[in-house]
Symmetry: C2
Subunit: 131 residues, 2 copies
């Protein structure tokens, strides 16, 4: 048995992920700054944010290092990894784990923006060349 790794981090909730987004943009940060960042996006009271930080700590998604009277928080879970697991979760549940059926679904319901189509085209070409 190997030691725990990032994948053993329990699912982080919606509200928690909002806090993670802040830390992914900049870290390490003290509670104060996090609160400041969030003041406009969400009307959360400071205690709420503290609770979320503690839950994230307990889950192992972030790390805290003391700096004088307070703590500085840093993500352990990486954004890309989180995005991957969230997306794969959805794909697995709804599209047999594959990307194409999702795109097909969106296409069918005309939810693809011009921009999407152009970008997809580029992506595919790249992948194609790439051999």
């Amino acid at each position: 048995m190997q030691g725990a790794s990032v994948q053993d981090i329990p699912p982080i909730s919606e509200a928690e992920s909002v806090v993670m987004e802040v830390l992914w943009e900049a870290s390490p940060l003290p509670t104060e700054d996090i609160v400041a960042f969030l003041k406009d996006r969400r009307h959360w009271q400071e205690p709420t944010i503290k609770t979320l930080l503690n839950r994230l700590l307990k889950k192992g998604a972030i790390r805290a290092e003391r700096e004088g009277r307070r703590y500085l928080y840093t993500p352990i879970l990486e954004r890309e990894e989180w995005i991957s697991s969230e997306s794969e979760g959805l794909l697995d549940r709804l599209f047999s784990g594959r990307v194409a059926p999702l795109v097909a679904h969106f296409s069918k319901h005309r939810k693809l923006k011009k921009k999407d189509i152009a970008e997809l085209k580029r992506l595919i070409e790249e992948l194609d060349d790439e051999h």
Copy 2:
């Protein structure tokens, strides 16, 4: 104010969606059949399934019509609609609401299967022709 429509159905949970999947495959169905269908996929006790059916009823995601002693259940919420709202939720939260960035993410992490690439290519071509 117009009458409630499908979009007013509250979010259905993971477990509830498993029951929905059964009804989307075939309906109307009595509890008994649903239980039978689910016996292998999940090791749920019968009362559990009944609870889920009741919650789905309360949420307005399914409808029940009496047939003698029992009820036959039918989905009100459609699968395609549910899939759309689930997927859009994820896209909004993680990819600014657009599909291409999601595909890019998967591409970057080499999570696209050969099959996906081929299928995506076809899709794009279709969309392109389509004008």
